[in-house]
Symmetry: C2
Subunit: 294 residues, 2 copies
């Protein structure tokens, strides 16, 4: 170390502390050996991976492109968020903005396609265009039965193999459609914004990650908390329960309830708890695993 040297005459230094052979020297291959893997395929590059690549002089790597995700809203009753006054029966499109934010946060590129009215031809045309230039297509369906069937029909007409299932054993989010048309996954979400956002987090984000080439599962596991209050749940159905964590050092999880149409359930939540299909609910005081919102 230069701290332990002094210049005695020009070009000559005195070393004032004993030094062992190799001390303070880093071998060229000490941080990463020749031929060693610097960053594994299938895992998003982290800050330290980029640092290591830079240290090794690697300034270009082949990566998966950020997946483009088409976001299609449907429903005669749905109007753009900037609509000042609503007519009776109208709702502003809350789902598209929230989905776009979730896609961005997960590393994708949202491609909003606006609102399509309940017209089979218009929907098929919009979906066709979306399939053409996106890696994943998400449709938030109109909330009426007819509109839902219409989405299924439109998707079925777009390409093989078509609709895998229409309905999931999950609450909220039962009327979810999963399909694939000519290699592009298509997800039909419920018209209810809360249900749509819960299902997209549970089902859509894993599909997005797969499309993005992410195959390495993170080793993280959400923290466990004590649960205040009991929650009923039907066996054979996955229940997603929104929770708020208390301010105290224990951070007890309190389940939030409410009419499932309401987004305020999500905006006031800190995270959520999943009650598995086999369980019939949570007992008060039981320990739960809370996945936190960012």
């Amino acid at each position: 170390m230069v701290e332990y040297t002094q210049v005695t005459m020009p070009g000559v230094i005195e070393v004032t502390r004993p030094v062992a052979v190799g001390e303070g020297v880093v071998r060229a291959d000490e941080d990463v050996a020749v031929g060693a893997e610097i960053a594994p395929a299938g895992r998003p590059l982290r800050a330290q991976d980029l640092g290591m690549l830079a240290a090794a002089g690697v300034t270009e790597v082949a990566v998966h492109a950020r997946p483009r995700v088409a976001i299609v809203s449907t429903g005669d009753e749905v109007v753009p968020p900037d609509t000042e006054r609503l007519s009776p029966g109208q709702v502003r499109d809350a789902t598209a903005s929230a989905l776009a934010a979730m896609v961005t946060e997960a590393g994708g590129e949202p491609s909003p396609r606006g609102i399509v009215t309940d017209d089979a031809e218009a929907l098929a045309k919009t979906l066709q265009a979306a399939l053409h230039d996106c890696d994943l297509v998400v449709v938030s369906a109109g909330s009426s039965v007819g509109a839902r069937d219409q989405t299924a029909e439109a998707v079925e007409s777009l390409g093989a193999p078509g609709v895998y299932c229409h309905g999931l054993a999950i609450k909220p989010g039962k009327p979810t459609l999963l399909a694939e048309c000519d290699g592009v996954p298509v997800i039909g979400l419920p018209g209810n914004p809360l249900s749509a956002l819960v299902v997209f987090r549970m089902v859509g984000l894993p599909v997005l990650r797969r499309v993005a080439g992410i195959t390495v599962t993170p080793r993280s596991r959400p923290p466990r908390r004590r649960c205040r209050g009991e929650v009923a749940s039907a066996a054979g159905r996955l229940d997603v329960v929104q929770v708020q964590l208390s301010d105290g050092p224990e951070r007890i999880a309190t389940p939030l309830f409410g009419f499932s149409a309401l987004l305020s359930l999500l905006t006031s939540a800190d995270g959520y708890v999943v009650i598995p299909e086999a369980a019939t609910g949570l007992d008060a005081g039981s320990t739960v695993t809370v996945t936190m919102y960012r």
Copy 2:
């Protein structure tokens, strides 16, 4: 629900199930009351917050700008990452790329300023320009003693109140400089890339969040794990220990050791454990809190 109606003659429907007053109707103020707070100030907008704002017809909100973070590398020995062949004593700049990624991940906008040689005047000029158009200035100092002193001198000359401290009781990362010049925080990081990245995560990111206007502390708390192997630590010093989590269901945390100059310690880590100042180490089998890398 439309499912429980049928059209009996044009303009007339039959309701086939009993309906209570108000059933299936959402009041205009049921999701969010007039005058209620939709999203709290000081917390980054989440997907569901954007959904709720859209539902309420709020398409513009005043937010803090993403903080611009100048990243200045210094040191005669530091060369750009795209340098193919290194001369003896040279190292490629690993820190700047990794810092830029950390800044982006935390919601800031990195503004890389390149590499400044160990020249007091050039450094002062670069820092002056960075202070002028950035909200936070980060300097990764040259690793020699002289270079470090030079950074402190340059920072001191830039504005009041100047240097707060030069040296932190943390390992790795001791030679860290914290300063403020005319309202802009300046952080001088150690020249060692590993130390620089650890300290920036521990000290720089909280400053970045504060500059970004984030005042709401997340309620999340990292998960606790069992620790394999003991770790020694000096009392009076914060120790940041990189850990790897096992693949098994228990996800046991194994501390990673190695010569502290090596970035591979960070690239092979899943997260880190902080040993507080008061502690003198970790016993094997003790329970630790692991903060995960994304």
